[in-house]
């Protein structure tokens, strides 16, 4: 007989159980780890480890010309990549003092609101999946698919979109894109209504989510919460309202808020926002139709230093060829300056802090990633709750590993 097996010290005396949720747990929906200390089924402490898919975007960006940074922003919150892309273009336009035409603003608003709907759809339907209701998730996916088809019509790709350029869009929206948007506006409300019917007053869903992971407005602000999670706690902070970009000040919409900041409120706020996004898209379509003359066809601003000239001109005109070459090789010096530009991402305030020293690439680019900042409250939110609550709280916070780790 061999000697007795040696147990790690303290493992017998310890009164609690340590449980790892993640890094590859099905409920984390991404690669991050939650180490949970359990007393029976009650959580007494939690700790999180992030960084498994860190890709050093901020460092890489220091060597890239502006247009090459757009694909990096795709990979932050990949559930709503167009918002990140357009947020980045807005940052560049602010630094370069580019004025974009109204039509570009409206087109951008349409895309950003569609992206917000898909992001909220994923988050809310995944909440259903994590609490045992798979149907809603499968049912709404076909409308996310429709939105992805719209992206495809506009930019050619679906998930990591690289949509738009500095100053506008690389090409005008096709008729099919508008037709599909119209179809989405027509068909989606009924689907969203049905999705709400499935969950909002569902006894089981309510039992699982009401009171799970609440946070007070004061704590949420102290933790740097933004977006639907902050609004669920009762603070009506929305970047689209307090610092409008892309002509959001012209649109009429409400900012839904909750009161207790629990998982159920977060769910309701996101559902409310989807309705508001539909309203915004409708208004934007109307505004597009109201544009007359040249305003009704323009799809980019005149920024020769950053906006690629049409291919036909590149082959026939000297000037266009020079700009094309300079842009592609990244040979254009930016004005020096420091800019902070924020957009209302689907899960919070997505900020870009951009320092230019007058060179060809950013001197420093920092992404304010909302879920990296608010995820640190997770330990406090689940303390004292049950293990099953920990899962629901995690999915209700809309954590995107790609954004957290940048």
């Amino acid at each position: 007989m061999s000697d007795n097996v040696l147990l790690p010290s303290g493992s017998i005396e310890k009164q609690t159980t340590t449980l790892n949720l993640g890094p590859t747990h099905p409920a984390t929906h991404g690669v991050f780890q939650n180490i949970i200390e359990l007393d029976g089924e009650k959580i007494v402490a939690a700790d999180s480890t992030v960084g498994y898919i860190h890709r050093a975007f901020e460092k890489i960006a220091e060597r890239r010309p502006l247009y090459q940074i757009t694909p990096l922003t795709d990979r932050l919150n990949y559930c709503s990549a167009p918002i990140n892309n357009i947020g980045w273009h807005l940052t560049c336009e602010k630094l370069l003092k580019v004025q974009v035409p109204k039509r570009v603003d409206y087109l951008r608003v349409i895309i950003m609101e569609l992206a917000r709907i898909t992001d909220h759809l994923i988050c809310n339907s995944i909440m259903g999946v994590d609490s045992g209701a798979y149907t809603g998730f499968l049912y709404v996916m076909q409308y996310r698919e429709l939105v992805y088809e719209i992206y495809e019509e506009i930019c050619g790709s679906r998930l990591t979109t690289n949509i738009g350029r500095i100053g506008g869009f690389e090409r005008d929206f096709t008729n099919a894109a508008f037709e599909k948007t119209e179809r989405f506006l027509k068909e989606y409300p009924a689907v969203l209504k049905e999705f709400e019917d499935l969950f909002t007053r569902n006894r089981i869903f309510m039992e699982r989510t009401i009171g799970a992971g609440p946070i007070s407005a004061e704590r949420a602000l102290n933790y740097g919460f933004t977006g639907p999670n902050l609004r669920a706690a009762g603070v009506d902070y929305d970047v689209r309202v307090v610092a409008p970009y892309s002509s959001y000040e012209e649109f009429d919409f409400e900012v839904p808020i909750g009161s207790t900041g629990d998982s159920y409120d977060r769910f309701l706020v996101r559902n409310g926002e989807m309705w508001q996004s539909l309203r915004i898209i409708e208004q934007a379509m109307q505004k597009l139709n109201d544009l007359k003359g040249e305003d009704a066809t323009v799809y980019h601003a005149d920024v020769p230093e950053y906006y690629l000239p049409p291919k036909k001109d590149v082959y026939t005109k000297m000037e266009a060829l020079i700009w094309h070459f300079k842009i592609i090789m990244g040979e254009i010096n930016m004005p020096p300056g420091e800019v902070y530009q924020a957009v209302e991402g689907a899960n919070g305030e997505l900020g870009f802090y951009f320092i230019s020293d007058g060179g060809r690439t950013p001197y420093r680019l920092h992404f304010r990633r909302p879920c990296f900042i608010y995820y640190q409250a997770y330990a406090e939110m689940v303390k004292g709750a049950m293990l099953s609550d920990a899962i629901v709280v995690m999915s209700s916070m809309n954590l995107i590993a790609g954004e957290m780790d940048a």
Binding site: V50, G51, A56, R63, G224, E338, G351, R368, Q376
Partner: protein, 167 residues
């Protein structure tokens, strides 16, 4: 009544005199700096003073200026007064040999991970931080990768012999 950048500047100068310096306004945002020893006093003043009330820490990050001898690393705070809807930027500079800066975790719970990130990439030692360890990089890493002395690979290098991925 909206809070203007001039009023913020006046308040700060009234309280700290010539210890707050480098006021500038770029793209509408007031920016200023102070000695790093003062950072908690200044932040506390910005949070608590009745008219300022910058209670929301939007962002905290580091910047490396290797040519700025003795003050190589900047810690940049972006603060937001949500009531008046004003943002400001506040910077402190520290030398890279002994980058000690007081932690803001006592004022903002959200500063915890942001400071860990800044430590991770720039090596800023936040004095008093409850859990200052690397967050995104591996714990065994023995350098601070966002500092400028670690350049990314030069795209035009020719000394690489890599049959599969050669350039």
């Amino acid at each position: 009544m909206a809070l203007s950048n001039e009023q913020i500047k006046e308040k700060l100068v009234e309280k700290f005199g010539d210890q707050v310096i480098g006021f500038e306004e770029q793209y509408g945002m007031l920016s200023f700096q102070s000695a790093k020893e003062l950072n908690l006093k200044v932040l506390n003043f910005l949070v608590e003073e009745a008219t300022l009330q910058f209670r929301f820490l939007t962002d905290l990050c580091g910047v490396h200026y290797p040519d700025n001898k003795g003050q190589e690393i900047a810690v940049v705070y972006h603060l937001h007064n949500m009531r008046e809807n004003v943002r400001i930027r506040y910077k402190v500079f520290t030398d890279s040999a002994q980058p000690d800066v007081y932690t803001a975790t006592g004022l903002f719970a959200g500063a915890n991970w942001m400071e860990r990130e800044t430590y991770d990439f720039y090596g800023v030692n936040f004095v008093g931080h409850p859990n200052l360890k690397r967050i995104l990089n591996v714990e065994e890493m023995d350098y601070f990768p966002m500092r400028k002395e670690y350049p990314l690979e030069d795209q035009s290098r020719i000394d690489k012999d890599d049959e599969m991925f050669g350039r």
